[in-house]
């Protein structure tokens, strides 16, 4: 399997390259349309619906799914789970690419992207949760870049710079966890300002806590999910340590995810109870809320637990993919489905195909970059000339 993939990839016109190439061309055309005609040309955004999938998916889901970086580096460097050391680099790389793409996506979404540094260089609105998000994302992107740089420096053979950066590992990890805690929770806190627009089942003063806890779930699940994909497509790039660690990774992160999901289910119920929202459960939105809670929180918690107990790595991987889907459902619910729930259906938002096209384009750019990097730099294996850190 891995042999055939590796062989095919050497050709310029491999299936991956053809599909990715077409998507990139489409993305280029849509980019021109977006910046030539304005947001109205390519989006269904309106005065009632100022945030669409570029915020709901590219920003909220993107940042949540990029949480694997801080979760894995904290697990290995701070909590001392050294057995999972091989998972750090792929997770950091995904996190770095994820955040870079979030920033790229924001250039499409905001009206005047060339002004994105304004909060830092012109005047700062420090009472805005968005300021906190912007500041933390900007800083964390830098942290992730530095955390990722040893791989690039090993590739380039810059030993002295590499050893300097490696010395900062613990410092950067702590800084990364602090920044992640802040902006992951702040993304949820963005919606605290709109209790009159977000459905009561999803609105809660605990929103920041919910977003932070789900980012841990997303990080753990994404690392398992992505590990299984990497193992399928880049097994020839992995060294013996990576291949040996993959089951340990699924089992320990699966165990952690089972516990965190169970805790998350509890605090969500506490949230419903605290606002006394039980009666909404009997409504249509209530049914959808139960689908999210039972199908995408309770079920994966149970399946992870079963998978760990029976040492069923395959089940854990399927559950990880399901949980990632659950994160997407949760962010979409808060930003799009349950937001503006009072508006008549004619005023509600549904993405334009070109909005979806841009999002697909951005994800594809991420995949291309990931592939480019793991086939060149020591991500899935230890560089023989360097000691692991």
């Amino acid at each position: 399997m891995s042999d055939t993939v590796a062989k095919v990839d050497r050709h310029l016109f491999s299936p991956f390259n053809i599909v990715a190439g077409l998507i990139v061309i489409m993305g280029g055309v849509l980019t021109v349309l977006r910046f030539k005609g304005g947001l109205a040309t390519v989006t269904n955004l309106s005065d009632y619906n100022p945030w669409g999938i570029w915020i709901g998916f590219d920003l909220l889901v993107g940042v949540a799914l990029a949480a694997g970086g801080y979760v894995t580096s904290a697990a290995v460097y701070l909590f001392g789970m050294k057995k999972l050391h091989g998972a750090v680099r792929p997770a950091i790389l995904t996190g770095f690419l994820g955040y870079a793409l979030v920033v790229l996506a924001l250039h499409y979404d905001v009206g005047r992207p060339w002004r994105l540094p304004y909060p830092f260089i012109m005047q700062s609105g420090t009472t805005s949760l968005l300021f906190e998000v912007a500041a933390c994302v900007a800083l964390y992107l830098t942290v992730l870049f530095v955390e990722f740089s040893p791989a690039a420096l090993e590739w380039l053979g810059l030993k002295r710079a590499r050893s300097l950066v490696v010395k900062l590992t613990i410092l950067l990890t702590i800084f990364g966890v602090v920044l992640s805690t802040l902006h992951q929770s702040s993304l949820g806190a963005l919606f605290l300002i709109a209790p009159s627009k977000l459905h009561p089942l999803w609105y809660s003063s605990y929103l920041p806590v919910y977003f932070f806890i789900t980012s841990i779930i997303a990080g753990l699940s994404m690392v398992i999910f992505e590990g299984s994909l990497s193992h399928r497509y880049f097994a020839d790039k992995m060294d013996a340590q990576h291949l040996a660690e993959k089951d340990t990774l699924a089992l320990s992160f699966g165990k952690a995810a089972a516990f965190v999901l169970a805790g998350y289910f509890m605090i969500k119920m506490i949230g419903v109870a605290a606002s006394d929202n039980w009666h909404y459960l009997a409504t249509g939105y209530g049914a959808w809320f139960l689908v999210e809670m039972l199908g995408f929180v309770a079920l994966p918690a149970f399946l992870y637990a079963v998978g760990v107990r029976e040492r069923n790595v395959k089940l854990i991987r399927v559950t990880a993919a399901w949980t990632v889907l659950g994160i997407i459902v949760n962010r979409f619910n808060i930003c799009l489905v349950a937001f503006n729930y009072r508006l008549p259906s004619a005023e509600r938002y549904f993405p334009h195909w070109m909005e979806i096209g841009i999002s697909v384009f951005i994800v594809t750019v991420g995949l291309i970059l990931f592939k480019f990097i793991v086939t060149r730099m020591p991500i899935l294996y230890e560089h023989p000339d360097y000691e692991s850190h």
């Binding site: 910046f35 030539k36 005609g37 304005g38 947001l39 109205a40 040309t41 989006t43 955004l45 005065d47 009632y48 100022p50 945030w51 904290a74 460097y77 701070l78 909590f79 001392g80 979404d109 905001v110 009206g111 005047r112 992207p113 002004r115 304004y118 909060p119 012109m122 005047q123 700062s124 609105g125 420090t126 009472t127 805005s128 949760l129 968005l130 300021f131 906190e132 912007a134 010395k167 613990i170 410092l171 990890t173 702590i174 800084f175 966890v177 602090v178 805690t181 802040l182 929770s185 702040s186 806190a189 963005l190 605290l192 300002i193 709109a194 209790p195 009159s196 627009k197 003063s205 920041p208």
Partner: protein, 371 residues
Amino acid sequence: MSISRRKFLGWMSAAGTATLIGRRSQAATTHHFEGYPGSMGVLHDITRCIGCRRCEAACNKVNELPPPEKPFDDLSVLDKQRRTHAGAYTVVNRHEIDGVAGSAVFNKKQCNHCLEPACASVCFVRAFSKTPKGPVIYNESVCVGCRYCMIACPFEIPAYTYDDPLTPRVTKCTMCYPRLQKGLLPGCVDSCPTEALVFGQRDHLIKLARQRIEKYPDKYIDHIYGEREMGGTSWLYISGVPFESLGMRMDLGVTPAPDLTAGALGAVPMVVGLWPVLLTGIYAVSQRKEKIAAEEQAAAVSQAVTQAEAEASAKLAAAKQKAETEKQAAIEKEVKKALAEAVKAQEEAAKARQVEAEAEPKAPATDPEPN
């Protein structure tokens, strides 16, 4: 390592202090902002509005907005519920009460100029500001276009010029701030033929509204909309029909918008201050655990080695001892054997001599035994 950690903590506490300064984030205080003293506002007496749309026309004119699709005297526009948009800072809507035709009530919609505006509190470049005079104004020159103000506004007022590729901006009523600066009335107030709109100091307008409600209790609902909604607004409304039936939400509460996010903002310095300590602690614990484990392992190994050594030397000593005893015993045995043999040989010799003497008593003594 320890130096960088100390430095790091220093930076973090500096960052925490920086976030604390210049930010009012205490949610649970007795703070209550009544608005800037003497600030201006508008009272909209909905019972007086006839839906002529002259305010819309005036607004369009003074703000130099693009001409509308249908002219302002075309009242068929009122058949549909409208909201403010990039081409209109204010709109008038007609509401049929209880579905009875001809019982139309009109109300005008525009920015309510909150005392503590949601748009201003969420803007990360402070493009919005509440002026001491009353109007909430927007500064296009810093706006990035994130549209968080539109998410935040509970009255759904700010709009966006989505079709503008290069200079898109948020649009909303400014209470004609530039005109107020010149001593002029807001365009809509100026043009209202029925005095359904009254411009004045907000506290005077509240008194005026109360007087009207008291004087005509049958004509008015006993509520001044905007006196307390979302912490109070500069635009005030009195009505003869329930506000809900005019599409005005009565469930917004009296909490000023900034208070909704104050708790989350207040948690930031706590995270910045405590997380590094906690995480360093966890790191230290895991390091210590590893160190102790390594030490215990080393101790166990060395103990095992000493024990093995001791055992080996004991064994060796025992073996030596045994060998010694055995050797001694062997020597003794040999000695005994030799002695015994010697004794035996003597005895035999003596016996032989005796036999010889008996057989040859006169043998010469000088002739010894040949053996």
